[in-house]
Symmetry: C3
Subunit: 329 residues, 3 copies
């Protein structure tokens, strides 16, 4: 399944194949480690499609989802992932959090740790907040999105979707289009896809293109039509509501005219190019319904499905050390 | 237990006795199907009264409660029902929903489906929204109340309460009183009770009486006292807060004077008439505390208990096909 | 482990050692009953530190956490406690509660009871509200904090922390400092610690000292420095945000100067005095970071850990009668 054998001669096994305590980002992960995560996710896709979706390997473990920033989809995905693995899953709601009482983030982290959490999944509006927490706790921490920094499980689920639909990631021309500047999804995807040898193009209006982004090994375009030319995968980003009325774009109407993916425009990509979007979509803004729902081309629903599988794999792998799985203890 | 034998000569079995994929409303259900649901609920009443309340038949199944409209009681009831059956139950909070980010309802539905939900319970403020979702997903959908349309499990729990307390539904004179116009509870109850051969009367101020309601086979009254005459069951509806200050009623005080159920007024009903209310009650508005708490007469608490049992039955029955229960696969 | 043998000659066993149906407060509990709860909590500390944290004794039981007042930490602690014991745990969110629809507290309680809850954990802003609910339900009720009245599990976890860190509770000089007037934590701690023969001092500005508090067997101080003299345990209270801007204290700056625990001030206490805080802390107001994080002295994190263990013990013990545990049925 993998393009790179991450266990050459089966010499790398157990914990050695993924020696990281946390999953804070794609940065710092080796290509064979990324592929290991994708390979492990495959088994959960099958289980999730079965009538009974239960595996008891996380029984007796407490998973705390600490979402300081609202996210219905990602929270649901992690909650379902943990429960299907048998964990005791507890959500800490941001809106009612002690943080509102003036407690520091570190104190909250130390509190969750003292309750003997076995894995903590965190989303936070501040870049780096998740790493800060990871330094203070004894259990693995999973980044579910922190500021403009990273959203590693989104990149993993996107990579898995591409690999399954296109057969491979290496060599694929992937065009990522939209608000690159503010997007942790774009950032994690660029890191993962370039690491796995895809040719990554980023397309954005000049105001939404990060400076020096080329250093990450991508080609930049401000002209959507040119950037789409021959692309195998077109990955649209969500235009955040707060940008729509800001100074970054003149209007959603103009944004759509210049950077919205239409069926007409999609013709510039490869004939069988895959269309992706992390959701939730603004239909009619960054993508038209015709493209979003195009049979055989849109992989948007599959991305959601891959999300649960990838999160199950990450929860499983990161807790193996504590569970004393053979080769990981 | 049933008044109608819904399995004549045991010839109708398994899936044939309840061939519906979803439970979207009482409309479209046959009397023997309604009675089948009530009969199935009986077993859960007993289990819920026992020291241990667990049955593993939904183990490995993911139940998503997607409440786009707040409802503490109904959500609790469905959550408890699913957990007692062993399902992995996940709540999707409306307040933090992706819908707030501009996502369409259909996209949310498709997302829940892609996470491989096995049953989705939905409450939504728009009539028909639940049916719309049901069309887009692969799993059974349970309507927990949609706009002014239907609230089928409420009607089922009310029917079960009446059957247990009065011995039968057929032939009972049931007076439903209050804001009939806006009430999905009234609508589902009218459909269920007339289908099961009760004599249904509806009592409301002219501004809160739906036009042409007689076509559903009910008798209408604008005079509460006349409508109560000899009733076996008096079912009061909740006066929604938003009506109280609207143009529909002059004042809650006047509403109470004309349409509030008092002990004095209850004397007009049958001597042992049952008092029901779907909750939460506005004590002193549509019902006095004396009546709400009247021993031997008020069935309000029992309605809540029947709610859990009815919802367990619905969750069980609707998932039988996927669980490949013999005769249902 | 206990200082007092609560099972003299093993003659007191089972339900006789803890004959209470509810845990509404420390008031009314005998010293040997308090010690029994602490002793029982010890086993859960060990389990919670193990790789797998699961005990099935509450399987088939429904625990409802009804938090009418927000509290992230306490809710998390009770939710984790119940799930580790195998209960079906359901949270009733205050913000979306039927109470908002005008329902009375009693009606909510009766509703939870009708759903056949096996144990209800309640937090409420009104003193006595929890006791009111306990009178109306058939299952054990656990007070998770009611108004200015009591917060018994907080006192128990504090007592357990002191016993483990100081070897004993009897004879310890415990200084409780801060907003004694409004604090249910202070009140429950005073009751528990005096009952277990600690010497309790309370330290507060005159505006935040309850009248006649000496009747509870404590010594009062308005001078922090004098109250600290030789204390074995310094228990700081949280300064509630709503007090900070009220007429009770001149300013948080002045409060800190007079009643904030600093490293310098801590020197007045016993050389190895323990520092405690129920959290969440206002660092720099009632306590400095230097003290809060002082190695070997601060027990603040341990308090959180003891909280889960104490709550597991309470949930276990209170449900023994219903579970027909030998000697308790």
């Amino acid at each position: 399944m993998s393009e790179i054998d991450h266990r050459p001669g089966s010499q790398i096994k157990g914990g050695a194949v993924f020696p990281h305590r946390h999953l804070l980002g794609i940065a710092g992960l080796q290509p064979h480690e990324l592929l290991f995560l994708l390979d492990e996710a495959e088994q959960w896709i099958d289980m999730n499609r079965a009538a009974s979706k239960h595996d008891g390997r996380l029984e007796g473990l407490t998973q705390i989802n600490a979402f300081f920033e609202n996210s219905t989809r990602t929270l649901l995905s992690f909650e379902i992932a943990g429960k299907r693995l048998g964990a005791d899953v507890v959500n800490m709601a941001a809106a009612t959090s002690s943080l509102k009482k003036g407690e520091t983030l570190i104190d909250t982290a130390v509190t969750l740790n003292a309750m003997r959490a076995d894995v903590i999944v965190i989303r936070h509006a501040a870049s780096g907040a998740v790493g800060l927490i990871a330094d203070k706790v004894d259990c693995p921490v999973l980044n579910a999105g922190d500021g403009r920094h990273e959203h590693p499980t989104q990149a993993l689920l996107d990579a898995l979707t591409i690999r399954r639909r296109r057969g491979s990631i290496a060599g694929q021309i992937v065009a990522i289009c939209g608000d690159i500047l503010h997007s942790r999804v774009a950032r994690s995807n660029i890191l993962a896809l370039t690491s796995l040898a895809a040719q990554v193009r980023v397309i954005a209006p000049p105001t939404l293109m990060p400076p020096a982004i080329e250093e990450l090994g991508v080609t930049t375009f401000t002209d959507f039509d040119k950037g789409l030319e021959g692309a195998d995968v077109v990955m649209m980003l969500r235009l955040q509501n707060e940008r729509m009325s800001g100074g970054f774009i003149p209007s959603t109407r103009e944004f759509h005219a210049l950077y919205g993916l239409t069926a007409e425009r999609l013709k510039r990509a490869a004939p069988d190019a895959l269309v992706m979007h992390p959701g939730p979509m603004n239909r009619g803004v960054e993508i038209t319904s015709e493209v979003a729902d195009m049979p055989g081309r849109s992989a948007i629903t599959e991305q959601v499905e891959m999300g649960v599988a990838v999160r199950m794999a990450c929860l499983d792998i990161l807790t193996r050390r504590a569970r004393k799985v053979e080769g990981w203890a």
